[in-house]
């Protein structure tokens, strides 16, 4: 991604011809991220996206699995097949037990140089960003961070990587023309999860790391897991009730919590509310917070600024409550109520409660 976007010239309309040596690069790769025996959902989301690109380009989709030797690591290959991969490159080595930059960068760089993919996608997690930046620099190729849309230009066989810029006010499409592979990262929950098909299979191509521990300078002395203290899991919530500055006072946020508790939903918030300390950082939805895609998103006292919108636009159904009929949120919500959130929220809580009581009786 360009650091000085505004001085860039557009790629132009003239026909682009890829150099011969780069034409050998074929296929789409998705780096399969996992930690402590669990596959990261962003990798599965990327397989869904990768499948679409592979079909458009008429090439294969491969997963790249690197980890400690054993059944668990191998099972990630099958999970990748179930989510759309045709094959998996598998590197098993005890040196890959914990994530460290050096062995993972070497392993992935070697694979790319040997098997030459044209596009490689990684999750924009702490691990994915650390690895993607290192691999792209080692390979001297282009990398576009935090993409929200991926497409291909079939003529140039070029990845069209679209990402928000200037805090989400604008979108820009970035291409890596005469370099391969074309690399991109995507944040969790930005892309939909593909259907899991457990009947799918694929081939496994095994390779080795070719490294010894003494050659790796950085050592992991200890891993201190986060306490499992009911951390909010907004990205995976099915229902979210969110509040913005329009809630006026921190005390009024209780009305948000009441509705959320009644529905068994998570509570979300906009950046100004988080900065004011009304709710904690984990609950911030938007460009600088979490990306969410619940079935139902209820936004109270939220104007719908673009920075918030980019984080929740993919919700199935959005209900907006705002006293300003011209608030931008009414341009993209499905249902709107113009009025005072302080009286409407309790009314909504009550209406859901009655509905639930009726449903319970009927059930």
């Amino acid at each position: 991604m360009s650091e000085v976007t505004e001085t860039k010239k557009p790629a132009g309309k003239k026909r682009f011809e890829l150099s011969e040596s780069l034409k050998a690069y074929k296929g789409i790769w998705v780096f399969i991220e996992h930690e402590r025996g669990v596959i990261h959902t962003v990798s599965l989301e990327l397989l869904g996206e990768g499948r679409k690109l592979a079909d458009q380009l008429g090439v294969e989709l491969a997963g790249v699995v690197m980890g400690t030797p054993g059944e668990t690591t191998r099972s990630f290959c099958h999970e990748a097949f179930f989510h759309g991969a045709d094959l998996c490159y598998l590197v098993e080595d005890p040196l890959l037990t914990d994530y460290r930059n050096e062995p993972f960068t070497k392993g992935l760089t070697d694979l790319v140089n040997k098997y030459q993919p044209e596009i490689m996608l990684l999750g924009a997690s702490t691990l994915g960003r650390d690895l993607a930046g290192s691999v792209a620099t080692t390979l001297k190729t282009g990398l576009t961070a935090d993409c929200t849309e991926l497409n291909v230009d079939l003529d140039a066989r070029s990845l069209l990587a679209t990402r928000p810029t200037f805090g989400g006010s604008l979108l820009c499409t970035i291409q890596t023309l005469n370099y391969r592979p074309q690399m991109a990262t995507v944040r969790p929950r930005v892309m939909p999860m593909p259907e899991r098909d457990a009947s799918r299979t694929g081939r496994i191509v095994e390779d080795s790391l070719g490294m010894v521990e003494s050659a790796i300078i950085t050592k992991v002395l200890e891993f201190i897991p986060d306490e499992m203290q009911d951390k909010p899991q907004l990205p995976f919530a099915d229902i979210i009730v969110s509040g913005g500055r329009g809630m006026k006072k921190p005390e009024n946020f209780k009305l948000i919590w009441d509705l959320a508790n009644m529905l068994g939903a998570e509570v979300g918030a906009t950046r100004p509310v988080v900065q004011a300390g009304w709710v904690d950082l984990e609950r911030q939805v938007g460009q600088s917070g979490k990306t969410v895609r619940p079935k139902l998103y209820i936004a109270a006292g939220i104007s719908g600024a673009i920075q918030h919108r980019v984080g929740m636009d993919a919700s199935d159904v959005i209900i907006a409550i705002n006293n300003d009929p011209n608030a931008p949120i009414f341009d993209f919500a499905h249902y709107g109520i113009v009025g005072n959130a302080m009286t409407l929220l309790p009314a909504l809580t009550e209406a859901f409660k009655v509905h639930l009581a009726v449903a319970r009786k009927a059930g």
Binding site: M1, S2, E3, T5, K8, P10, R36, Y99, R100, N101, E102, T105, T126, L127, R129, D130, A132, G133, S134, A136, T137, T141, G142, L143, A145, G167, S169, L170, I174, N178, Y179, I217, K219, V220, L221, F223, I224, P225, D226, K295, I306, V310, D316, V317, I318, F330, D331, F332, A333, H334, Y335, G336, I337, V338, G339, A347, L348, A351, H355, A359
Partner: protein, 281 residues
């Protein structure tokens, strides 16, 4: 101990507006600030200097006006400041930027060996988090991203112990210097500038290096030529074609509005009703 802190001057993204008709960024009056994430890196470097002694050099690449960001860093207590500026750098993407900064750090290293390079975790304008790792790879330094704490430095053994935020927990890592550390936000709180340092900052002669002085011989490695990525299109997000259905009823009583909303929504989106019903069980 010699620490180089890479910083960037950025427009305050919270104050950026897009022109409603032309869809271009309206920069007039938007203040330029030091990238907020970089201040955590600077403060962490200053703390290490307080504890172990040594020097802190701040480095930035940018237009001549970026000098202001370096002066700010001097006012917080940095010892030296270098601005790398050249027309040849215009249009640099992250790969080209890391090339220029790595070369400049190489030049700094010639004058006084560099033990650590600090950067912020990312910038608020580019948001890529790619330049730090890029510099580390180019200088063949150990890369430690998302560091939340530097526990200790052993200058004789060239060893450093850090806590690194990773998915689901914190890694305690031991590595050797020189290494590059990207500092996580919230790691520390920036100190106040002292009066003496503010005076020093106002008079400090910032070193200005052009491309050759920064040690970059090959002009094709920087700027547009050295950038694999090109921005092919900039556009405004498209709005959903259908606006919200505004719920209204007689008197607009909250209770009636709420009931009407649920009835309409459950009819059109039965799966929402099912989702709610699941919670009744």
């Amino acid at each position: 101990m010699h620490i180089v802190v890479c910083i960037k001057q950025v427009p305050d993204s919270a104050q950026i507006r897009v022109h409603p008709v032309t869809n271009t960024i309206m920069r007039q009056g938007v203040p330029a600030i030091v990238n907020p994430y970089d201040l955590f890196a600077l403060e962490e470097a200053l703390r290490l200097k307080d504890e172990y002694g040594g020097r802190v050099t701040v480095l930035t690449m940018g237009p001549p006006m970026a000098e202001a960001a370096l002066r700010k860093a001097i006012s917080y207590g940095a010892d030296d400041a270098i601005l790398v500026t050249d027309r040849a750098f215009a249009g640099s993407d992250t790969l080209a930027t890391s090339c220029a900064l790595a070369a400049a750090i190489g030049q700094i290293h010639k004058d006084m060996p560099v033990d650590l390079v600090f950067t912020g975790k990312q910038t608020i304008d580019g948001d890529t988090a790619q330049v730090g790792p890029g510099i580390a790879k180019r200088l063949d330094m150990q890369l430690l991203t998302y560091v939340s704490k530097v526990r200790s430095v052993d200058l004789d053994k060239h060893e450093i112990l850090v806590e690194r935020r990773s998915e689901g927990g914190v890694q305690l890592l031991k590595t050797s210097t020189p290494s590059l550390i990207t500092v996580l936000e919230g790691t520390n709180e920036m100190r106040f500038a002292t009066m003496a340092n503010m005076f020093r900052a106002s008079r400090y002669p910032v070193k200005v290096w052009n491309r050759e002085q920064a040690g970059i011989e090959d002009v094709t490695k920087v700027g547009l030529k050295g950038s694999p990525t090109v921005v092919s299109k900039v556009f405004a997000p498209t709005l959903r074609a259908v606006k919200a259905e505004i719920i209204q009823c007689e008197n607009n009583e909250p209770k009636d509005l709420a009931v009407t909303l649920l009835a309409k929504m459950f009819t059109k989106f039965p799966k929402i009703e099912q989702e709610i019903a699941k919670r009744a069980a």
